[in-house]
Symmetry: C2
Subunit: 333 residues, 2 copies
Amino acid sequence: MGLDHAATKPHEQLARHLDNKMAAVNTLIRERMASRHAPRIPEVTAHLVDAGGKRLRPMLTLATADMCGYGGAFDVHLAATVEFIHTATLLHDDVVDESQQRRGRPTANLLWDNKSSVLVGDYLFARAFQLMVEPGNLRVLDILSNAAAVIAEGEVLQLSAARDLKTDESIYLQVVRGKTAALFSAATEVGGVIADAPEAQIKALFEYGDALGIAFQIVDDLLDYQGDSSATGKNVGDDFRERKLTLPVIKAVAAADETERAFWVRTIEKGRQEDGDLEQAMALLTRHGALEATRRDALSWATKAKSAMDALPDHPVRRMLIDLADYVVARIN
Amino acid sequence: MGLDHAATKPHEQLARHLDNKMAAVNTLIRERMASRHAPRIPEVTAHLVDAGGKRLRPMLTLATADMCGYGGAFDVHLAATVEFIHTATLLHDDVVDESQQRRGRPTANLLWDNKSSVLVGDYLFARAFQLMVEPGNLRVLDILSNAAAVIAEGEVLQLSAARDLKTDESIYLQVVRGKTAALFSAATEVGGVIADAPEAQIKALFEYGDALGIAFQIVDDLLDYQGDSSATGKNVGDDFRERKLTLPVIKAVAAADETERAFWVRTIEKGRQEDGDLEQAMALLTRHGALEATRRDALSWATKAKSAMDALPDHPVRRMLIDLADYVVARIN
């Protein structure tokens, strides 16, 4: 615990407020990612876990449990579960995307091999399920196993939807719920469930996580087209070059005339990209106001997340979660 | 249900005895492998599920629940869970092994791609966890999530142990428990747990599944060196060519003199194989009685499985499970 300075970022405020619990989560993660028999497992996992990241998802579970007055120790198990599911997903994603870098380091599939990434990911999934069983709460198990299915379903859907111009905003939302929002909303919902919060609060916690996750992903997709690469660490246009049909392009395709459509078919569906295509794509996104409309969508999801907090009790964490929703969209606002 | 002819194979007797339940398992599998949003999922899964296989693992769960007097409907959920975990493992194994064929058909990674196999496998794992939560039995969840971790750990261990001459019989056993026996023993144990059987029976059911799975895998590894390829569908020496350190070779390496050791280092560790090496390997296996010793190990595990059945009540299924243990080693006896 400590003083909260207005200048501190909301996830840093949360980390400070929950520092004892976060330390317990980190200890539990290290304990459970070990393997007596297969030393390759902690090697691969430590590579990813040490690289860190903000630990946003486990923090959401601790935060919501705290806000709802939970006094037990199992929030730590659930937070570690959520981080294990996230880490397993990253390992498998990097195989699927043939990624080279993650959190500023070479990916595990590059340092070891795809086999290790697939199997160590499976190990972490299994460890996640072991962890989530320990609190002995069937509703929590239901929520987290359901989230795992939605995540995998979203990833498979993305395989077929990513380069298909028929992908519309509702399919995009489905994919985004799978790849990002399902774990956010499960993380926030189980915090309320383990704390035995009233149903209206649990529902609001789900809605907060869902909307926050969607806003988070839309911002990511928008910054790919208009971000400052020195700040995002990504190059502008990566998604275009990788032929990913994200929200800005979906909006531009929906408004495209025949010539423009032919451009998208050639560059995204067929992948025959030429010099100047990214500039042309940016021009089309601008012409149809697709970037501006995407920005408005992200802000609207952030607003939805904040409104969900109306149902929650007055508590220091509540303010931090509201600020977090603002912070997620601050880079585009 | 029906008459049991002595000439019928034990797994066919079990299938006939449990035909209504097996039909319910198949229906549930079809229902749960569906995906409203991602049609790729049922395509990939159906490819594997339609190819069939003997459905030995789900049958073990139904059989042990039946033998212990279970009268409810959740044995069907647990049997489907076990088959989903098995199918997910196969999908990921084929990616890891870069396999081309499975159950006489091209593998999913060949027909679609590695991405689909990884992600659809993840989906099936998640669906398995959803299914296993439904009976609301925490002990069952503990057993199955633990089995999933042992499976993944065994697979990772195999990655590093497969071509390492330091791999001894205890490491081999660890790998075999992971890749085969852990799911067998979980399948038989949860049957007893869901039926609320006495502890001594549950322990015996675990031991039966564990020993049966180990016998099953040792037979597989032995037949790779001395099987009739028209009966096994595999070519003699596949494991040698793929540099897999299985039990016969582990035994021969343990008894090797300096020259022989150099042969194994060159062919298995370094993978520099030449014409005539398989014949030389076979000669070394024979010289040290490694095949015969492996055969004795398999028979001894089958005997252990049968002895475990002493703790179980008199029941038609009990005889079938004893016969099944004999049947598993019949091909080498």
